[in-house]
């Protein structure tokens, strides 16, 4: 038996962003012994980057809002590929999950009557995003972090899980390593919750940090779980484009919610030129009406800048492609213009968007209260992920749960802004609750020592290859993968390019298998990059194969060779599964039918 440190938990949570922490809190509240493994320090996960707010139909600002409207908005935004039961649960439970944060110490911005303030956001019919300036994610992760440290949870910071350990069909634990000392660790667990976030590092322009290498997606896939909707990668319309070193850093949709407008090089508000038919009714006819909406006029409709992210991103791409872009390949996002409408505009902007002000001032020498920003699409969020049961969040592998970005189903073909923070609260809680119940009912599995031995050998193999002919360092391979995915499987896709991408992935996989690292095991980033690469390759292949299979354009997927929606594909989700021989199997499954009572709600809100 390998002599590695071993920890025993009822529930092991992998990932310490919002979903992981919320899951851990809930599992611990049931009395389960809970461990949390995170690649970074506590409070640093990507949730911290969420800016605009958390969507919940609290109806504090507009009393016409309720869960039914939120449900309908989410389904429409997801082009009806969403799991309707997940969208229903999410819309119903989000308000309670948000209010609960206040009882744990969160301090949201306030309405005049002293309640939690809510703001407008793309695709949401009413002001729905509870927020704290433009640092809502920080507020949420800190609240969850500060609450969770008093619950007896075991935290394993700066540790990475490489392999899920199975006992027959069910989960038995996880194997990984500590960054600090480079030691192997075994976490035995009766249930495992994946809360590892996204896959942004598979692309070169991204708002995601080094951590987002699709670990949860890849671990689940290797453990035999189904992945679903992998073709839907959200490109956020507004990332920074200049200077080069900040390319991809997020510019919150809150800028547009506060009245920011998109213009091309001719000064035209091009979003007015292309409004999709299913949003026509809800969208402003004039700049005047759009401004009134941002000022809280309940009779006004939202400006086209607040259409869904997939659509806005494509419109920006079109402007750039047709030669009407900004000097550095983006378009202009202007909030400074509101000085024409309100007297204290610079102070107002700094108060509402403090971190955007700071970010542009410090990184790009731009004062957003005086001049427009240059923005363009950036890889932001993965709609696809582990296919889960809507009630329990359990995957198709018993004992393996998933929540937050690495789970799938809620968002369908496109996620609405603000729905990720509510997603991680609602389904993080459910995953924690049900994983703890599973642990209670099922007891512990047996650790397969042979599987541990194999995993440990693979872990240290890159050191042993040092000096072998053909061995190379990991950074170049990672860089080539990102550049290739960005150009061949990015916002605009074609069959020919994606076939080429698959060939490239095959070649890169061979190179990745020969990667060698130098130095020793302690906190060695070259080694960590090498170990993350197989996960990136797995999710890149899954995205590409699913995107090839969906021969239509819908939501976040735009196929230049199939530019229209195809009703036949509107009736299916794409499932990715590992075949026993190791190959990647792609299949179509019918979308979950919308039950009559929910269908009636959708019809009523049309």
């Amino acid at each position: 038996m390998a002599d590695f440190p071993r920890y025993q938990y009822d529930v092991l949570v992998i990932g310490a962003g919002g979903a992981g922490l919320r899951a851990a809190i809930e599992a611990a509240a049931t009395g389960a012994k809970v461990g949390v493994v995170s690649k970074s320090l506590l409070g640093k996960a990507h949730t911290v980057m969420a800016e605009g707010g958390v969507a919940a139909a609290l109806a504090n600002v507009d009393d016409r809002d309720n869960w039914r409207v939120h449900f309908t908005d989410t389904m429409r935004g997801g082009q009806y590929l969403n799991h309707p039961r997940m969208a229903e649960i999410h819309a119903k439970e989000a308000p309670e999950r948000v209010q609960e944060l206040e009882t744990w110490g969160a301090v949201f911005d306030r309405t005049k009557d002293g309640r939690i303030l809510q703001r407008n956001f793309g695709g949401h019919r009413y002001p729905r995003l509870a927020h704290v300036g433009d640092r809502t994610g920080l507020e949420m992760i800190r609240t969850l972090q500060d609450h969770s440290i008093h619950l007896g949870i075991g935290f394993h910071m700066e540790c990475t899980v490489n392999t899920l350990l199975k006992d027959g069909d069910r989960l038995a634990g996880a194997f990984g390593y500590e960054r600090e000392r480079g030691r192997c660790v075994i976490w035995e667990a009766k249930a495992v919750i994946l809360a590892t976030g996204g896959i942004g590092r598979a692309f070169s322009v991204t708002s995601n940090s080094w951590e987002y290498t699709g670990d949860g997606h890849s671990l689940a896939y290797d453990a035999g779980a189904d992945l679903i909707d992998m073709e839907f990668v959200q490109f956020h319309p507004t990332g920074m484009v200049w200077p080069p070193s900040v390319r991809g850093i997020l510019v919150t949709e809150g800028v547009r919610g506060e009245g920011g407008v998109l213009r091309n090089s001719e000064g035209r508000r091009f979003m007015f030129d292309d409004i999709p038919p299913n949003y026509k009714e809800q969208t402003a006819d004039s700049e005047e009406e759009g401004w009134r909406y941002c000022q809280g006029d309940k009779n006004a409709r939202r400006p086209p800048e607040l259409l869904t992210r997939d659509h806005v991103a494509r419109c920006i791409m079109r402007e750039v492609k047709e030669g009407r872009g900004s000097p550095h390949g983006g378009v202009f996002l202007d909030i400074s213009w509101i000085k024409e409408r309100i007297s204290n505009a610079p102070e107002h902007i700094k108060r509402k968007l403090p971190s955007m002000y700071h970010q542009f001032k410090q990184l790009a020498d731009i004062d957003i209260t005086k001049e427009p920003m240059e923005v363009g699409p950036t890889t932001h969020y993965m709609m696809g992920g582990v296919r889960v049961d809507p009630e329990s969040q359990m995957s198709t592998v018993p004992g393996l749960f998933a929540a937050g970005e690495c789970g799938a189903g809620l968002h369908g073909a496109n996620r609405l802004g603000g729905n990720s923070l509510s997603d991680l609260l609602v389904f993080g809680k459910r995953a924690g609750e049900h994983a703890a119940a599973f642990a209670r009912e099922q007891g512990a599995g047996r650790i397969d020592e042979a599987q541990v031995e194999t995993a440990a050998r693979q872990l240290f193999a890159p050191f042993e290859r040092h000096g072998e002919p053909g061995a190379e360092a990991p950074y170049q391979v990672q860089h080539e993968l990102q550049t290739m995915m960005q150009s061949l499987v990015g916002i605009v896709r074609t069959e020919a390019e994606m076939e080429q991408a698959l060939e490239e992935i095959g070649r890169l996989r061979q190179r990745a298998a020969a990667i060698a690292v130098v130095g020793n095991r302690e906190y060695n980033p070259g080694w960590h990059t090498a170990l993350d690469l197989p996960n990136l390759l797995t999710v890149s292949e899954a995205v590409t194969r699913a995107a090839l299979e969906r021969r239509e354009s819908r939501g976040a997927q735009f196929r230049a060779d199939y530019p229209e929606k195809d009703p036949a594909f509107g009736a299916v989700n794409i499932v990715v599964r590992k075949e026993p021989d190791g190959g990647m199997q792609i299949s179509r499954v019918p979308v979950v039918p919308v039950p009559p009572e929910l269908k009636a709600i959708i019809e009523e809100m049309k």
């Binding site: 306030r110 990184l363 690292v517 906190y523």
Partner: protein
């Protein structure tokens, strides 16, 4: 392409030395970009902690030309590139490797601060009411990204190593956010005086100067807490009353 030299500290708890790396400089680059470039070009095992690269997570704290800063928010065009740029780990914490320090003490010390204790709700649905002005102060403190640069420059920790007796500016800000949270009913004044060692702070304001979030740590958080502690424990009238109560 213009080149610049970075003098980066390499080593571990057993000791180390500065190593010089030359790398290309392009428009808009920050120190963290240079460190990543050096990793990719010549030092693949150079250890650095980072996440968001946008000044929001507080992971990449270091001392750049001797000044505590976030590497991701320090522009190269604000530094004199004719000379080597020195990049060193924070000094108030034990070194792990290269630019990475062991900051776990901060997490342990935070756990000892009494947690948020909700006061009774204002409305029948269990929610509270507060004006924006009532939450402004707490929100200022909650901007903290836990980069621990304030801990790094605090002489009580950096030079006197009183980590067991003093929680440092970051955690005083944390305590202040709780004390000034309009929904909190907890009382941390006794702990601040004794266990948390607020008296060690002699308000030199070094912490305020290095805060990348611009939190007025000393004036808005620490001094008001000191005043509350004084009012509670050193007010002559209250002291007299306490004597009689005994």
């Amino acid at each position: 392409m213009a080149q610049a030299t970075f003098r980066v500290w390499r080593g571990d708890s057993g000791g180390g030395r500065f190593a010089d790396y030359s790398t290309g400089v392009t428009e808009g680059m920050v120190v963290l970009d240079a460190v990543h470039q050096i990793q990719a070009e010549s030092a693949p095992d150079l250890a650095v902690r980072w996440n968001c690269k946008a000044g929001k997570c507080g992971s990449c704290s270091a001392e750049i030309n001797g000044k505590p800063k976030l590497m991701c928010m320090t522009r190269l065009n604000d530094l004199p590139l004719e000379e080597p740029v020195t990049v060193e780990p924070m000094k108030a914490f034990p070194i792990l490797r290269d630019l990475v320090t062991n900051v776990s003490w901060n997490f342990g010390a935070k756990q000892k601060i009494r947690k948020f204790t909700p006061r009774p709700a204002d409305a029948p649905d269990g929610t509270w009411r507060a004006q924006q002005a009532d939450v402004d102060r707490s929100q200022e403190f909650r901007k903290c990204i836990e980069c621990f640069l304030c801990q790094d420059v605090c002489h009580v920790l950096r030079e006197h190593h009183l980590h067991d007796e003093f929680i440092g500016p970051r955690l005083l800000v944390y305590a202040a956010a709780l004390e000034m949270n309009p929904f909190d009913a907890g009382d941390r004044l006794g702990d601040l005086k004794d266990a948390h060692g607020i008296g060690y702070c002699n308000i030199t304001k070094c912490c305020t100067k290095v805060c990348p979030e611009g939190i007025t740590i000393t004036d808005n958080a620490i001094i008001p807490l000191k005043e509350r502690v004084v009012d509670e424990f050193y007010d002559p009238l209250k002291r007299l009353l306490r004597v009689f109560r005994k």
